[in-house]
């Protein structure tokens, strides 16, 4: 089963929920941090040893001797990543979406495969948790290709928990896709609610069963609860606004270590997710 922890607004508690959930379960868990622009889950684990692999993507390389400057590659490219400038063809690697079309339309066979680094994928084992996370190379604009590569590490069996990036556009969607259940973490503020409503639209479009977690539930107003009730969205968990939680988070200590009594709440969250999934609420 794949459970994705997402949110429209950033900083609502996705990483707190995903790490706490992973640490509260007895079973083997694969925790997958797909917030590759700013991965934070690993901060909450004492990692002794980790494996690392560099992830690359295709970009074209033009062999000048073979190129007859016909311009077919430039005509096809939808991303302005390759262009005839004067008497040579230039490649703009950061614009390239790796469709390989330029290579396919080149009749001179002048385009070869080269690499652009997307970032790295790291993995570590901490007790019953296998942690996998991607780190986008700083300066790399596109995160979805790396997110997709990180997700390839997911095993079909067992429990997989994905920590998604914030927002409602391509990075968040790449993380959520093919999940069995999405947990939307929100806070009861006007910003939290506005972005929750957008995120709900996305999850509905993707047709994935979902529920919400209200973090700092006593810090705002009751409009989020009213919205959830009206829309028939299950509220899976409410977390109080406690300074002790904020302080543990600040020093990279998992909330369920600082407050072991909270393990039960996250265990209950897991069971509510399983039950909601069976009911297929969407």
């Amino acid at each position: 089963m794949i459970i994705t922890i997402a949110s429209g607004k950033g900083g609502t508690g996705k990483t707190t929920v995903s790490t706490s959930l992973a640490l509260s379960l007895e079973q083997k868990v694969c925790l997958v941090d797909c917030d590759v622009e700013e991965p934070n889950a690993h901060i909450f684990f004492n990692i002794q040893e980790s494996g690392k692999e560099i992830v690359n993507t295709f970009v074209p390389f033009v062999e000048k001797e073979k190129c007859n400057l016909c311009g077919a590659c430039e005509d096809l490219c939808q991303f302005n990543a390759i262009a005839k400038i004067g008497k040579s063809v230039m490649v703009f690697p950061e614009m390239c979406h790796s469709c390989k079309g330029c290579m396919m339309v080149c009749e001179q066979d002048a385009i070869k495969e080269a690499d652009r680094e997307l970032g790295v994928i790291e993995h570590a084992q901490i007790d019953n948790i296998e942690l996998v996370f991607g780190k986008l190379r700083v300066g790399e604009p596109m995160s979805p290709p790396l997110i997709k590569r990180v997700k390839k590490k997911i095993k079909s069996a067992g429990i997989n928990i994905i920590d998604a990036p914030p927002g409602t556009s391509c990075p968040a969607i790449s993380a959520m896709r093919d999940s069995d259940f999405v947990v939307l973490v929100t806070e009861p503020t006007p910003f939290g609610l506005n972005d929750l409503i957008l995120a709900v639209e996305v999850v509905r479009l993707l047709k994935i069963p979902f529920g919400i977690v209200i973090n700092r539930c006593d810090a705002g107003d009751n409009r989020t609860k009213k919205y959830a009730e009206k829309q028939g969205i299950p509220i899976l968990l409410e977390l109080a606004d406690k300074r002790k939680i904020a302080e543990a988070y600040s020093r990279g200590e998992p909330v369920v270590h600082a407050m072991p009594e909270m393990k039960k709440e996250f265990n209950d969250l897991y069971h509510r997710i399983v039950n909601s999934k069976l009911k297929n609420v969407n």
Binding site: E37, E38, G101, V138, S169, Y249, R251
Partner: protein, 293 residues
Amino acid sequence: MKELVIISGKGGTGKTSLTASFACLAHNAIIIDADVDAADLHLILKPEILKQEEFSGGSKANIDKNVCTKCSACIEVCNFDAVTDDFVIDAVECEGCKLCFEFCPENAVKFSRQICGEWYISDSRAGTMIHAKLGIAQENSGMLVSLLRREAQKAARQKGIPLIITDGPPGTGCPVIASVTGADAVLIITEPTLSGMHDMKRVKELTDLLKIPAMFCINKYDINTEITEEIQEFGSEHGLKFLGNIPYDSDLTKAMLAQKSLVEFSDNDTAKAVKDIWKNAGNFLAGLKDRLM
């Protein structure tokens, strides 16, 4: 004219709240909300839309069932698994590379521009606001951000407005790069958590790479004063201009609930801290050369 962009790396550290206060403190600025897929600034500034336009990003493919002979040429060329086994284009996966269109022997593929969202020029109590709404599950947020910046620059030139303040998106990817590239300065707002510091270091790396002068401030600094000190040290060692600390204050949430910026809502020490940060940012900007535009 100068462009100041507020970013954070980590989400939820207070970019929009700070931008709202800055917008109200600046008496002559254009405000951009560049967090186009989860825009919130309009909830505080309540802009009145003067002009509304569609944003068309890239194009996407579509297969005409009546013409398709199911030869699979499209499936073979697509590098994004966007063609399903029943020869339907999955609009979410389609990157718009046009290969299926080019290689379909039956000309069964249509390739057309997509409306990805809307953008607006508005009037607000803090002045002109340029903002947008990306459609649900749409892409090209970077392109939309670049468009907003071009429109803001145009408006600033026409009206002789000396400053553009941008509420940036979280992260380090394409919308962030589109928000900050070529700007005069960025202000990184962070929080004293290991996550906040980790993410701030990454955006600092990005602003270095793009050669943009950067300043920073720390929100909720009293949640963990040790990490606050560590962040300040990192800043001074890495040529980041420190602007000030903002205490943890429930008035920030209360101001949001009242649909006001903090400096409109309160006169307390937190509001004073924000005003100091605004003043310090102004001094930093004044020391930078004006760009020719």
